[in-house]
């Protein structure tokens, strides 16, 4: 199965980028999961968690303070102004 190409971007830097099998975010309408092959999509995100199931290495959970998500041709970009990463990947990037 094709992997989803995920980028997690904050205002001042790129926090995470890589392949993922699933991405979960919270939009203004509620939680949404994005799998590879998702239709083109643009959504406004509210404060909440972003969970990225990475295909390689550890999965990532981050808390964001508002932002938006765009999905286009298996390329998902989560853009947020404040990103706080938890877990192993977080210590490396913050």
């Amino acid at each position: 199965m094709a992997a989803l190409n995920v980028e997690l971007v904050s205002a001042e830097r790129q926090v995470w980028a890589g392949g993922a099998s699933q991405l979960r975010v919270r939009t203004t309408e509620g939680d949404i999961g994005v799998l590879p092959g998702h239709e083109p999509f643009l959504a406004v995100l509210v404060d909440g968690e972003v969970r990225i199931e990475a295909t390689e290495g550890e999965s990532l959970t981050a808390t964001i303070g508002g932002g938006f998500l765009s999905v286009d041709h298996d390329r998902a970009v989560v853009v947020a102004e404040d990103v706080d990463v938890q877990g192993a990947a977080g210590s490396a990037s913050r």
């Binding site: 205002a11 830097r13 949404i32 083109p40 643009l42 406004v44 938006f68 765009s70 286009d72 853009v79």
Partner: protein, 306 residues
């Protein structure tokens, strides 16, 4: 005679100490350029993602948004001028201000009233000295602007824009378009003052505008295209302002580095010149002393009766 020598020595001393200051400032600027450029690079993914998203909404939906549509009549135009807080950067602030003046003159010709927004102490001082009205001013962060600074400016500008300038709304008039005058960092040796129009948007970067017979990819918007635009556009403006501030900061450091290098080189030339003059003065003094001694001896020899 000894006085002249002393004066030259003093000049050499003061020029040398100035040269040290120039050297130190040059080194500081050099080290900060790298940091400022890294900040520009780090903010690029965010700017690119936002630009792409805004282009997608603008291209793939028929949402008519206040921020994207051209106003029928443009009465007031906001001009954001990005200058530095400190001087010692050659013509950096002066060239931005010159470009801003040109833009203001052009807007006046077109019958629009320019409204000034100024970043940086140099620009604020420039307009205050000329008793020009400045709508809002910010200072204190020109060397290392943070995202929060950009957000503050972006929010102020968007708020003015949303208000619009039509008098029938009553209250304070807003603005119909927003221009930014700042310095773009092209390379270490080239930085150019530039005028960009932020609003109304003229984006669509990287996304091909679809031809009429082509089916649009079904973009899904949540909650709705209008709401997505509502949320996106202030962020887009902030990101553009942030980028402009960061590039201006990098340009400022580069300009300062160059100015300080030139000043240091000039100081070196001055020291060389003063050293020569001091040597000359010393030689002249010695020659004169010898002449006096010889003259004295001759006079003694001539006067002795032997």
């Amino acid at each position: 005679m000894a006085g002249q020598q002393r004066v030259y020595k003093q000049r050499i001393g003061s020029t040398k100490s100035m040269q040290q200051i120039f050297r130190a400032m040059e080194l500081i600027a050099t080290s900060r350029i790298a940091k400022a450029r890294a900040a520009v690079t780090a903010s690029t993914p965010y700017a690119r993602a936002i630009t792409r998203a805004v282009s997608a909404v603008a291209t793939y939906s028929d949402a008519d948004h206040a921020l994207t549509t051209e106003r029928a009549e443009v009465r007031r135009s906001a001009v954001l001028v990005v200058t530095s807080d400190r001087g010692m950067a050659g013509a950096y602030s002066a060239s931005v201000l010159r470009e801003a003046e040109r833009l203001v003159a052009r807007l006046r010709e077109e019958g629009r009233e320019p409204v000034l927004y100024v970043v940086g102490r140099k620009g604020i001082a420039y307009y205050r000295f000329r008793r020009r009205d400045v709508a809002q001013e910010w200072s204190g962060f020109s060397e290392s602007p943070s995202f929060d600074d950009a957000r503050e400016i972006g929010e102020a500008l968007v708020e003015q824009f949303v208000r619009s300038s039509s008098p029938e709304d009553g209250g304070e008039p807003g603005v119909d378009e927003i221009h930014v005058v700042s310095t773009s960092f092209i390379s270490m040796v080239t930085q150019e003052p530039q005028v960009n129009r932020l609003l109304p948007l003229e984006v669509v970067e990287g996304v091909e505008p679809p031809s009429a017979d082509e089916l649009l990819p079904l973009y899904d918007f949540e909650p709705s295209p209008e709401d997505v635009l509502d949320a996106l556009l202030p962020r887009y403006i902030t990101s553009r302002v942030h980028n402009a501030l960061l590039q201006a900061a990098a340009s400022e450091h580069a300009a300062r580095q160059r100015a300080m290098k030139t000043a240091g080189d000039n100081a070196e030339d001055l020291v060389k010149m003063y050293t020569r003059l001091a040597n000359q003065a010393r030689q002249a003094e010695i020659t004169q002393e010898i002449t006096e001694i010889v003259g004295g001896a001759d006079a003694l020899a001539a006067s002795s009766p032997s």
